[in-house]
């Protein structure tokens, strides 16, 4: 029995009929075709599927699409307009915060959430904030540096009113 949902993703509202058991991550990837959000573990441990739902970072692999009815979601594709980069994305590029890139979209969403809650985090606070996201390639240090870069950049932007 399919259920109607209305979900806003990256500013566009989508109305679809979905099976109640359809996972949100599969709705995003297979129904909407936004494949930047990845599946890494199916158990909410690795965080590759992290998206922002109504301002909160959420693991979309353990949430049903019907639970997201009426919400406003940002995925990696919606972090910046066109070819512009969000300061967190820029930080990952500047500081080599990724190797294979698979965990990266989820990491970036989690990092954005950290800075949203705390614009000036310490190294320990960044590491703690990233505990829900696993990276098997980088060893995390460059990711921490990427988040620090983004924090500086966002502070500068706020100061100059950009």
């Amino acid at each position: 029995m399919k259920k109607p949902v209305s979900i806003t993703v990256n500013g566009v509202t989508h109305r679809d009929e979905v099976e109640p058991r359809l996972l949100l991550v599969h709705y995003i990837r297979d129904v909407l075709g936004l494949t930047g959000t990845h599946v890494g573990c199916e158990t909410s441990i690795c965080g590759a599927c992290t998206v922002i739902i109504d301002g909160q970072s959420v693991k979309s692999c353990t949430m049903f699409a019907v639970q997201a009815d009426g919400t406003d979601i940002t995925t990696i594709e919606g972090m910046a307009a066109g070819s512009d980069l969000h300061p967190v994305q820029e930080g990952f590029w500047e500081h080599h915060g990724l190797q294979c890139g698979y965990c990266t979209p989820g990491m970036i969403m989690a990092a954005a959430q950290i800075l949203d809650r705390n614009p000036d985090p310490t190294v320990e606070e960044i590491r703690h904030g990233l505990e829900g996201n696993l990276c098997r390639c980088t060893g995390y240090q460059h990711i921490v540096e990427a988040v620090q870069y983004a924090a500086r950049k966002m502070k500068d932007q706020a100061a100059t009113g950009d």
């Binding site: 690795c46 190797q99 990233l130």
Partner: protein, 799 residues
């Protein structure tokens, strides 16, 4: 002139990856794709009495169901590439027929309209099992446990002895002989992207395309062509973005062949994306050795010999390189030391578990761990500082190429230099003083040192199962853009950037004008792939050599354009000109100017003025238009080179870990981590740091957290990431990294490789630190993963 090589160049791969625009296998969407799910054995060891698929076949959305009987005569066995003398090779079919030998062993496959329906139908397949006793413990399996394969009589897949020198008399005449049992627990590689396959058959063209998350597209194509029975030139393997591999995708898997075959049966695209539980069940594991080391030494700390008797837990079947991995352990048992007598006695053992194979380091971390722990055992036995024992046994920097008693020639090295630098950065003397003080205050601080050497750039073909060379084609298009086709198959290492750095410097072009193409067998000439820290040292050298070849041709065309002899033409920063000496002598002659657009076509001035240059882009255009190239020369501007290395390379370094142990809980906390690595010449220091850091964290995983656990019945206990403990960001110290740079003489780039250094060098440093911290309690050794529980038991026994 190196504008890019050696610089911290940002990766060209990254813009697509940080925007979520990369395409991993599951991101490739084809219309009408069917989805595949596997029924896998729930028992470690059982007979299959019957399989009933009738209900599953009629389930909603199901298109087809196949069992082992359907495919046994159609699809060849899963291949093993290592040919050791006397090796027992079980017949490893893509689906089991009547005998399952590990939890996760594929039994049947459902093809359905979507992944949910496929998964549903799996539960409707009825299998009648007769459970058999499982052999789980490797030593029990070797010493009389029930034989998994009745036809073999026992579980010994092979026995192999190697090494040089008279180990018996070395140990007999040593002042001391120290013995220790060491366990290298099974690890799961856990690439963040699981395996995945998409197969599409084109019935008209009779061509099959397979997208697979693999490290070896060409080798995979060859093997799958043989398994499925399709001509190799009708099979195209595409490796899209690969989300990590660490050796786990250096293989040929049953699922890859099955998906290809199913697509041929159904004439539709079929896709399978491995779940994480499947990934831990049925993607290869790493390590899995239980060994007994005997090290003989003199009273001054000189090591006289090492013997290592090891039981290698191969699992139930051989995957591509399963039996070969422990032989790499044997190769590296000399470590960074002059050891006159070395012997390894390998017993390769079948157990009812997933096969072990290459996981980052692949046999070498085991060797390094054995040697580096053995050195600490010697130091502890003799009451010497571990640093002094290490130094005493180093070959000097002028002793290279250094021959080991394992039959290798280490290419170059300066082990003292890396050690000195690490001691300086860590302020080792001060650390020891602080440790002493802390002990007096009741705190448990440990300092662990590892002075590792590793074997990289795999490898000369003579030493490899299927070719150790690598290929590159370099092409300059008519518009001057540079295309590199590499046989390497990067999956996170960043060779799209590092190879572009090499090419941009050598050709004098902007790095943004260079595109590196890999992972498509229809586009790229045959290649070997990315593993064994080989891509830059072997594949990068192939790029360099192809460029040299291309420049030879370009020089001839440029000479023709400049109306000069080739021998008088020089190439510098992207431009060809007449030889500097001649140009200089002609500089007094005023240069005739030809106003742009006024030279009549076909009537170029003759002779060309001295000092005139043509760019490599001009040459590329001329080579393609081909109206005015040297007579008899080939049009176009591309060159292909297959580079065969003459030796492996041997990176090395010193890692120092400082840990503190909580007396109440046994918890282990890092205070410092210093690593000085020498991977030869560095192409991109930022990427080298990334490789080292990632490697160290995988070592931290092995030393402290990770272990694939099977229970006594062979059930996989650690089947999800909730149970298999990967290191997280907050568990990791800040790494203090530095380098020494000893070029390799094996390749003209002077590079050695760095992909596995961290995984090889760090594990023993961490365990040495923990043992050092606990040494006041008489602790000489602890097995990995060193969990707080084990430490706490020691502490409470002494409190």
């Amino acid at each position: 002139m190196a504008k890019y090589v050696g610089q911290r160049v940002k990766r060209t791969e990254d813009p697509r990856l940080i925007q979520g625009l990369g395409h991993y296998v599951d991101d490739v969407k084809l219309p009408d794709t069917l989805h595949v799910a596997f029924l896998r054995s729930m028992y470690a060891h059982a007979r299959i009495k019957s399989i009933d698929t009738s209900e599953a076949s009629h389930a909603p959305g199901v298109v087809a169901v196949y069992t082992g009987k359907d495919v046994a005569a159609k699809i060849g066995a899963v291949p093993c590439a290592s040919a050791l003398p006397g090796l027992k090779v079980p017949d490893y079919r893509v689906l089991a027929t009547d005998h399952v030998v590990f939890v996760g062993h594929p039994i049947a496959v459902v093809v359905a309209a979507d992944r949910y329906s496929a998964r549903d139908a799996i539960d409707l397949i009825m299998v009648d099992y007769e459970e058999l006793p499982a052999v789980v413990d490797v030593e029990h399996a070797a010493k009389g446990g029930p034989a998994i394969y009745e036809e073999f009589g026992d579980n010994i897949a092979y026995k192999l002895t190697s090494g040089e020198g008279d180990i018996d008399s070395a140990l007999k005449s040593a002042d001391r002989v120290i013995k220790q049992r060491m366990v290298h627990q099974r690890l799961a590689p856990i690439a963040m992207e699981t395996r995945g396959v998409l197969a599409r058959y084109f019935p008209g063209e009779q061509e099959l395309t397979i997208w697979s998350s693999t490290q070896i597209p060409h080798l995979l194509r060859t093997q799958l062509a043989l398994m499925i029975g399709i001509p190799e030139n009708k099979l195209r393997v595409i490796t899209p973005e690969v989300g990590g591999a660490f050796g786990s995708k250096l293989n040929v898997y049953a699922e890859e062949a099955l998906l290809g075959w199913i697509s041929m049966q159904l004439g539709k695209p079929v896709k399978w994306i491995e779940g994480r539980r499947e990934n831990i069940q049925a993607t290869i594991h790493g390590r899995g050795q239980v060994g007994y080391v005997e090290v003989g030494c003199k009273n001054d700390g000189t090591i006289a010999g090492i013997r290592y008797n090891v039981f290698a837990d191969l699992g139930a079947y051989h995957q591509l390189l399963t039996p070969a991995i422990p032989t790499l352990t044997g190769l590296m048992l000399s470590g960074a030391y002059k050891i006159p007598a070395i012997q390894i006695n390998i017993t390769g053992v079948f157990t009812n578990k997933m096969a072990t194979d290459a996981y980052r380091g692949a046999g070498r971390p085991e060797a390094t761990y054995v040697v580096e722990r053995a050195v600490d055992l010697v130091a502890a036995e003799l009451g010497l500082d571990t640093v002094d024992v290490r130094r005493k046994n180093f070959p000097a920097s002028n002793e290279f190429p250094f021959k080991t008693a394992t039959g290798l020639f280490y290419d170059s090295g300066d082990y003292d230099a890396a050690l000195d630098k690490a001691l300086e950065i860590s302020d080792y003397k001060k650390l020891r003083d602080e440790q002493k003080k802390a002990r007096n205050d009741g705190r448990l601080i440990g300092i662990g040192v590892s002075t590792y050497v590793e074997i990289c750039a795999l490898g000369p073909s003579a030493a490899m199962p299927a070719g150790g060379w690598e290929s590159a084609t370099v092409r300059i298009e008519p518009t001057g853009k540079v295309t590199i086709l590499t046989g390497a198959s990067p999956h996170g290492q960043g060779q799209e950037t590092s190879f572009a750095q090499i090419a941009a410097d050598e050709l004098g072009v902007d790095i943004n004008d260079v595109t590196v193409v890999h992972g498509d067998t229809a586009v790229v000439q045959y290649g070997i792939g990315t593993f064994g820290s080989r891509a830059t040292a072997v594949g990068g050298t192939a790029v360099l050599m192809a460029i040299e070849k291309l420049k030879e041709k370009a020089t001839k065309i440029a000479a023709h354009m400049l109306k000069a002899e080739s021998s008088n033409v020089v190439f510098n920063e992207g431009k060809f000109s007449k030889h500097a000496a001649r140009a200089a002598s002609a500089s007094a002659v005023p240069e005739p100017t030809i106003p742009a657009g006024q030279a009549p076509a076909g009537a170029l001035p003759d002779p060309e003025p001295e000092g005139k240059t043509v760019s490599i882009q001009d040459v590329a255009l001329a080579a393609h238009i081909a109206r005015d190239i040297p007579p008899g020369s080939e049009p176009g501007l591309s060159a292909t080179y297959f580079f065969e290395p003459t030796n492996f390379t041997f990176p090395f370094g010193t890692h120092i870990a400082v840990v503190e142990i909580d007396r109440e809980t046994g918890e282990i906390k890092f205070l410092r981590y210093v690593a000085v690595d020498d991977c030869g010449k560095v192409i991109n220091p930022m990427m080298v740091d990334g490789q080292v850091q990632g490697g160290i964290v995988q070592s931290i995983g092995q030393a402290l957290y990770e272990e694939v656990v099977y229970d006594e019945q062979g059930q996989l206990v650690t089947g999800t990431l909730m149970d298999y403990a990967l290191p997280k960001a907050a568990m990791i110290p800040w790494f203090e990294l530095d380098r020494t740079e000893t070029p390799s003489p094996v390749n003209p780039l002077g590079v050695k490789g760095v992909g596995e250094a961290g995984t090889i060098g760090a594990t023993p440093a961490i365990v040495n630190a923990i043992v050092d911290a606990l040494s006041p309690f008489g602790v000489r050794h602890l097995d990995m993963p060193v969990r707080p529980e084990a430490v706490w038991k020691i502490l409470s026994a002494h409190s």
